[in-house]
């Protein structure tokens, strides 16, 4: 039986792990390669690096981090941040990423998703959707895509965009609520559910995890295939094993043989 995945996410800036509260105040949680090794040994199902400043700063540091991580870990690695074209996708895949997340560039040019999927296969193309709720109280729920760390509105409906990029060939959608990110108040389950119901590809719930029940809700109520979290893992509030045990107790199918990493 296919298991629900837990994906720790390392926000990376200048080659260091950070976690911003609503992407503004940043805290330093260390070396991404060491963190990746620790998560590999702890039984994480995948790992995600998001280079949160990549659209503004140099790429070399990130490629180096990805390459050193891929050499040290035998777990699937998704890398996003600052991907502008097919060449950026190629560079990250060659550095050792298994999947590449495209965000702003897919909003500007959805055909980039098709070009990348045709070249590298849909399985390695993730579209990262950063959305905010724009409907008022009492109105039917509606979410809009925001870019640049949640600062810039695009006017694009998040669910319609999700459908579009899934048709273009995205193999997976990473759906982040920019209202919830960094707030520890739980995923925006309405957003996760609306997108999960709208597309045939797997959805990763992201943004706002404050406790282990939020991870359960992301799957049970949000319909996500995988749950992504950062601070609760980075700052030791919960271990991967505790999260898996909690989710398994709640009746979700989890992979419990991963602890110990790749040790045979």
């Amino acid at each position: 039986m296919l298991k629900t995945r837990i994906i720790p996410c390392l926000d990376v800036k200048d080659g260091r792990v950070v976690k911003g509260v609503r992407f503004e105040a940043l805290r330093d949680a260390g070396d991404p390669v060491e963190a990746a090794k620790a998560y590999d040994a702890a039984g994480a199902d995948e790992l995600c690096f998001l280079d949160i400043t990549a659209s503004r700063e140099a790429r070399g540091t990130l490629l180096d981090v990805v390459s050193r991580t891929a050499e040290a870990c035998f777990m699937p690695l998704t890398v996003g941040g600052g991907v502008r074209g097919v060449e950026d996708v190629r560079a990250l895949l060659l550095a050792g990423a298994d999947k590449v997340a495209i965000n702003t560039a897919a909003v500007k040019d959805p055909d980039l998703v098709a070009r990348a999927a045709e070249k590298f296969g849909a399985q390695c193309i993730v579209v990262a959707i950063d959305a905010k709720r724009v409907s008022g109280p009492g109105e039917p729920a509606r979410w809009e895509i925001f870019t640049h760390g949640g600062r810039d509105p695009t006017g694009t409906d998040a669910v319609a965009f999700a459908r579009l990029v899934a048709e273009k060939g995205a193999g997976e959608l990473l759906v982040t609520s920019m209202d919830r990110d960094g707030t520890r108040s739980g995923y925006d389950l309405g957003l996760t559910r609306a997108i999960s119901d709208a597309v045939a590809v797997p959805v990763i719930a992201s943004g706002g995890v404050g406790g282990l029940d939020d991870l359960v809700a992301g799957v049970a109520e949000g319909g996500a295939s995988a749950v992504l979290a950062a601070s609760i893992f980075h700052f030791g509030q919960a271990s991967i094993a505790q999260a898996k045990a909690h989710m398994a107790e709640a009746g979700l199918a989890m992979r419990l043989d991963g602890a110990g990493g790749a040790r045979a």
């Binding site: 296919l2 050499e71 699937p76 895949l93 296969g121 991963g258 990493g261």
Partner: protein, 220 residues
């Protein structure tokens, strides 16, 4: 320990660093100190290797074109595998390329070593997402040396899958392992000295390293 060379074929199909590292680590942990892992695009190296690995990530037609773009590579593989009987392992699209043909986007001829088509996965439960992505358990169709000592079944170890298409072998006994995803999905195939896994051993932690170690010991 006798020495052996393992050729991992590099034909432009994504990053093969982690595959090389996983084979090196499996060899080290299995005590196979004489094992040399070579990432190569040279048909002569492939023809002379003791064991051959064909990875593959991406679209079927693109991978086939990549393989054909290396002059003499398919002939070198044929020589080593069918002439000299060297053990061969295809991974993911590298396994799918063993089939007669692939049906992803366009119909593309495969190597035809494991007769059958590579077609879209169609889970009986429409709520199941495509690609089949993540960690799944394996169920034996028949016993095989590559899975010796590896716990499989519902309580067994997990393998990492990421694919939307799967090989349906024309000869049922070419299937070795299946996964369940709204119906059976071929997870591993083997015939004589040729084997393939739909999942990624190089990403499958304990199960993957154990399978690679078995491959390095395999005497078909």
């Amino acid at each position: 320990m006798t020495s052996q060379t393992v050729a991992i074929i590099d034909y432009g199909s994504g990053n093969l660093h982690s595959a090389v590292k996983a084979f090196e680590r499996a060899a080290r942990e299995a005590g196979l100190d004489g094992t040399r892992i070579r990432l190569t695009a040279d048909p002569e190296v492939v023809a002379a290797a003791d064991r051959i690995v064909l990875p593959g990530v991406g679209a079927y037609a693109d991978c086939r074109a990549g393989l054909d773009a290396v002059p003499g590579m398919v002939e070198a593989m044929e020589r080593a595998v069918h002439g000299a009987g060297r053990p061969f392992l295809g991974i993911c699209v590298g396994m799918q390329l063993l089939a007669t043909r692939g049906l992803e986007y366009v119909e593309t001829p495969g190597l035809g070593w494991i007769p059958g088509d590579v077609g879209p996965i169609r889970p009986s439960d429409p709520a199941l997402k495509i690609p089949h992505m993540g960690w799944n358990t394996l169920y034996p169709v028949r016993s095989h040396a590559l899975f010796a000592g590896i716990p499989v079944g519902e309580g067994g170890l997990h393998a990492y899958f990421v694919h939307s298409y799967a090989l349906d072998p024309a000869r049922p006994d070419d299937a070795v392992m299946r996964a369940e995803y709204g119906g059976p999905v071929t997870a591993a195939v083997a015939r004589d000295n040729v084997a393939g896994t739909q999942f990624h051993p190089e990403k499958s932690q304990r199960l993957g390293l154990a399978l690679i170690a078995n491959f390095l010991h395999w005497r078909p």
